[in-house]
């Protein structure tokens, strides 16, 4: 998030898209309802009729996968009606004229045909958003889990820039992160191409993914990135180096040198694999040895049957977790880890706030905190690791990531969380990003075109669009929530949402079992007949191993982010 959770309640207008916060981020859901009580305009752009639609000023119920067209249409209307923030555009951005050209054809009428949203609703939404004192865009995986995920985000960012909503209070671009420390795992460099604080370990371009390179090498067509941005220039301004780095030098080379010195090892510049590539279709390109810590890909990753096969075929798999998960069953060795209540450390939340967690009880049995297990393993490779506390680990992160974390000692964090960047002990942290100036200097409008991009298209054999979501009373693969009887009381089995019209056409009644088949596999699930989904669309959660929706989902990825398009799969439904 560019802004804080607390600011949401004071927003003038909220554009909520690809997110169902009252179920998945309930406390943020409260903030949105509080904002509406105070007079905020709420625009929900969402294929499903999520609970917040009940209090929305307008619901843009678009066809899954047509996000870019819809957002470009909002931009079109704002420009056509002269509602853009002209002063802001002049002072802080570039590329406006080109954007204007590109969105010219996205008239509400044209986009209405693509998205199924009435033209007048598009116009109403554009006016509400542009007319508000401050406009906050809140989104989640419903925007990113598409083969056009990056383009969706770019189109949304244009809307935010156009209305002068980046770098100001109660506004901004606010992706809601789904897990307690998914932000931290990214910030800590658990991504192939970057170390802590997004310092590139190889490749100096943001869009330089292994996936894209692979395709280019094979001569396959890949979508051009929305705007080629040479991040090395930006990074050279923001990252602090021990020796000066000039334009033209390899930033990643300097970064590798810095970390190699600090760690006492030589770092590789060979591109690493993303999740999608670890379970690659071609066995020769997969990993042979896997270390899986606190993750359950057998249930949570797309095309689950394929993931299982890959794990079975690997030479060696080690899983480190707090329970014997579905994935752990495929392991050769299982290592017992301590839970969040049994260790010290820090999490980073969706608004970049680093917060302390504290050991409340002792680890169960012989289990150990993950970092201790990692250290014991490192010592078996003669790596010179001698951390005696999580604080010592954190201090190393601070030292190697001064532009983000230098100012965040445990001592300071004891008093309360701090939001990165926080580069000095007397720095107050950064509640609102891009204030006055963007991290990259001048704000860039990056144009994107809509294309019917979903790899998995609906046809006669697979006539329904299957989308995925989560439910209030469960969480992810239920490793944790499945152990609370009270939550299971509310929801202990999958209930696929299907519209009354489709249910009638298929002669289904509530609670019936159906067989759902995609181009990858087939599962059985109970149904729930509800107008939360429009005709032609069905929705399942990925909570239940017995009705594992990811057997069906499409592993095709967004070319730039290598995120799978989990939100759109074509399926067929039959009475079981």
């Amino acid at each position: 998030m560019t802004n804080t959770v607390g600011e949401i309640a004071g927003a003038g207008a909220i554009l909520l898209t690809g997110s169902n916060p009252t179920e998945n981020h309930p406390v943020i859901g409260y903030r949105i309802r509080q904002a509406v009580r105070r007079g905020a305009k709420l625009i929900v752009a969402e294929p499903r009729r999520i609970p917040l639609v009940n209090i929305a000023d307008v619901h843009l119920q678009f066809k899954p996968g047509t996000d870019v067209a819809l957002f470009n249409a909002l931009v079109h209307v704002i420009i056509k009606e002269g509602l853009e923030d002209k002063e802001y555009i002049k002072n802080r951005t570039q590329g406006f004229e080109y954007l204007k050209e590109i969105v010219e054809k996205y008239t509400p009428e044209y986009v209405s045909v693509i998205t199924g949203v009435p033209a007048e609703d598009i116009i109403k939404a554009a006016r509400l958003f542009a007319g508000a004192e401050s406009g906050s865009i809140i989104y989640c995986m419903g925007v990113t889990q598409h083969t056009s995920g990056t383009e969706n985000v770019v189109a949304l960012t244009n809307l935010s820039l156009l209305t002068g909503n980046l770098g100001v209070p109660h506004a901004g671009m606010n992706p809601l992160r789904g897990q307690n420390n998914v932000q931290g795992a990214c910030d800590m460099g658990c991504l192939p191409n970057v170390l802590t604080g997004y310092q590139p370990v190889y490749g100096d371009r943001e869009t330089d993914t292994y996936w894209r390179r692979l395709k280019l090498e094979k001569g396959e067509a890949v979508a051009p990135p929305p705007e080629e941005i040479d991040t090395s220039v930006i990074l050279a301004d923001t990252i602090e180096f021990e020796t000066p780095v000039y334009k033209g030098m390899s930033v990643s080379g300097e970064i590798r040198a810095k970390f190699s010195r600090a760690w006492g090892v030589e770092l590789s510049d060979a591109p690493g694999r993303t999740i999608a590539e670890m379970f690659h279709d071609n066995p020769t390109r997969r990993n042979r040895v896997m270390y899986i810590m606190g993750e359950n890909p057998v249930i949570s990753d797309p095309h689950a049957d394929h993931v299982r096969e890959c794990l079975e075929e690997m030479d060696f798999v080690v899983v480190q977790d707090i329970f014997l998960t579905e994935t752990a069953k495929y392991a050769d060795v299982v290592l017992p880890a301590a839970s969040f209540a049994e260790k010290d450390g820090t999490f980073i939340n969706t608004e970049r706030r680093v917060q302390r967690i504290r050991r409340a009880v002792k680890p169960r049995g012989d289990s150990k905190p993950d970092w201790e297990i990692l250290q014991l393993l490192a010592q078996r490779f003669n790596l010179n690791w001698n951390y005696s506390s999580s604080e010592e680990v954190w201090d190393e992160v601070r030292k190697l990531t001064p532009h983000y974390f230098r100012g965040m000692s445990y001592e300071r964090l004891e008093k309360g969380g701090l939001q990165w960047p926080c580069p000095a002990e007397d720095h107050p942290g950064t509640p609102i990003m891009h204030k006055g100036k963007f991290a990259r200097g001048i704000g860039q409008f990056a144009t994107v075109e809509y294309r019917p991009w979903a790899a998995d298209t609906v046809d006669e054999d697979y006539p329904f669009i299957l989308t995925t979501g989560r439910k209030l009373y469960q969480y992810h693969t239920r490793t944790m929530t499945g152990k609370t009887d009270g939550l299971n009381y509310f929801l202990n089995e999958e209930l696929m949402e299907i519209s009354p019209r489709d249910a009638q056409a298929l002669e289904l009644t509530a609670g019936d079992m159906v067989k759902v088949t995609s181009r990858r596999g087939s599962i059985e699930t109970k149904i729930q007949i509800t107008d939360r989904v429009p005709p032609g669309v069905v929705c399942m959660s990925f909570h239940f191993g017995e009705s594992a929706v990811n057997v069906l989902t499409d592993p095709a990825v967004c070319n730039m982010s290598v995120v799978s398009g989990l939100k759109v799969s074509a399926v067929r439904i039959e009475k079981a």
Binding site: Q34, W263, M278, Q355, R364, L472, L487
Partner: protein, 348 residues
């Protein structure tokens, strides 16, 4: 916001413009009895217990009267005491009085008021009306709703509306029959209630009380392990069991508010299925192993794989559930072993 100076019982008090007299008094450590006031909610003025007198103006309720420059406030005199006593006794007279058996014993706002006014048994008996014996709604797995212990302060109704925003409950019926009800007086689980427990947290009595009344022996300040919002919590602990959680009111992310999972879903910590020892798969089944056996095997297999296929044969999936420190060391280990193949479910 300007600063206002006025007096309470002759003491000079400074308060912010817009504050109420009750807020200013509580801020300065002066207790004025109250039941329906809650700092998170808009003032309601229903219980009439926070009666005060403003010199020259007469009796008024302090929870709805804003502070004004120079006014002189009295919190206790015969007239106030009489009005307050009657209001309090009417509430207490029909309230369940088996305090020792109550989940909220010693943590009850009604007990505070009873203590403040001083109970006279005889007077209470005269005030007692027909005993109410309404059914308890225990449909929700996390909390009870006992209308017999309800004082109709409306805090739950306002919490559901102003904090959560779902508005699942409201006052229903009239006069003596008044109670807090869901739509059509159905069990709470058949309403729009989201089981967030915000009302349970704010109920001044045990009309709304958690199931499982064990109180923790100590509390540990930490962060909720579920979604990315990062709400501050206090885990309630007894021995090595995690019993409960409550919101951290000083955390700016959630201001003490939580959802059903963040408040009630910690059974996994103490669950018997937790992994407690390393396991090695031998002939298709897992057998318990020591740390040395397990880690030696992992290290040997990693080395073998890398020798056979090159360093990039090794790949790792890290965890969006683990700490920064865990994640940092995870990628440090993999990269130190020569591979950049480290990723996690942020890419999902």
């Amino acid at each position: 916001m300007g600063e206002i100076t006025f007096s309470i019982d002759g003491l000079k008090i400074k308060a912010n413009e817009g504050d109420t007299i009750l807020m200013a008094a509580l801020e300065h450590g002066i207790y004025i009895p109250h039941l329906c006031y809650h700092p998170d909610l808009k003032p309601f003025g229903g219980c009439r217990l926070c009666m005060i007198e403003i010199e020259g103006r007469g009796l008024t309720i302090s929870c709805k009267t804003p502070v004004e420059e120079g006014v002189r406030v009295t919190t206790e005199n015969p007239e106030i005491n009489k009005a307050r006593r009657i209001a309090a006794e009417l509430i207490i007279a029909n309230h369940y009085s088996e305090c020792l058996q109550c989940a909220r014993n010693t943590d009850c706002r009604l007990q505070d008021i009873a203590t403040y006014i001083g109970i006279e048994e005889g007077r209470l008996q005269r005030l007692k009306r027909t005993v109410r014996d309404l059914p308890i709604d225990d449909s929700n797995p996390f909390f009870y709703r006992d209308p017999n212990k309800c004082v109709l302060c409306g805090i739950c109704v306002r919490t559901c509306e102003e904090i959560n925003g779902v508005g699942a409950i409201d006052f229903a019926f009239r006069g003596f029959a008044t109670k807090i009800s869901t739509l059509k007086d159905k069990p709470i689980t058949e309403s729009t209630c989201e089981s967030c427990g915000e009302c349970v947290d704010r109920c001044p009595t045990a009309a709304l009380a958690r199931k499982g009344s064990e109180r923790p022996a100590r509390e540990v300040k930490t962060i909720c392990p579920y979604c990315g919002t990062g709400c501050g919590i206090y885990l309630g602990v007894r021995g090595d069991r995690v019993l409960s959680a409550r919101g951290d009111r000083r955390n700016p992310v959630n201001d003490g508010q939580l959802c059903a999972k963040g408040r009630f879903a910690y059974d996994f910590v103490n669950h018997p299925d937790r992994l407690t020892t390393p396991l090695i798969k031998r002939n298709g089944t897992f057998v318990e192993a020591s740390w040395d056996e397990a880690l030696d095997l992992v290290a040997a297999e990693f080395k073998e794989g890398q020798e056979k296929y090159g360093p990039e044969a090794l790949g790792g999936l890290s965890s969006a559930r683990a700490t920064n420190e865990d994640n940092y060391l995870f990628q440090k280990l993999l990269r130190s072993l020569g591979t950049n193949s480290v990723d996690h479910c942020a890419r999902l």
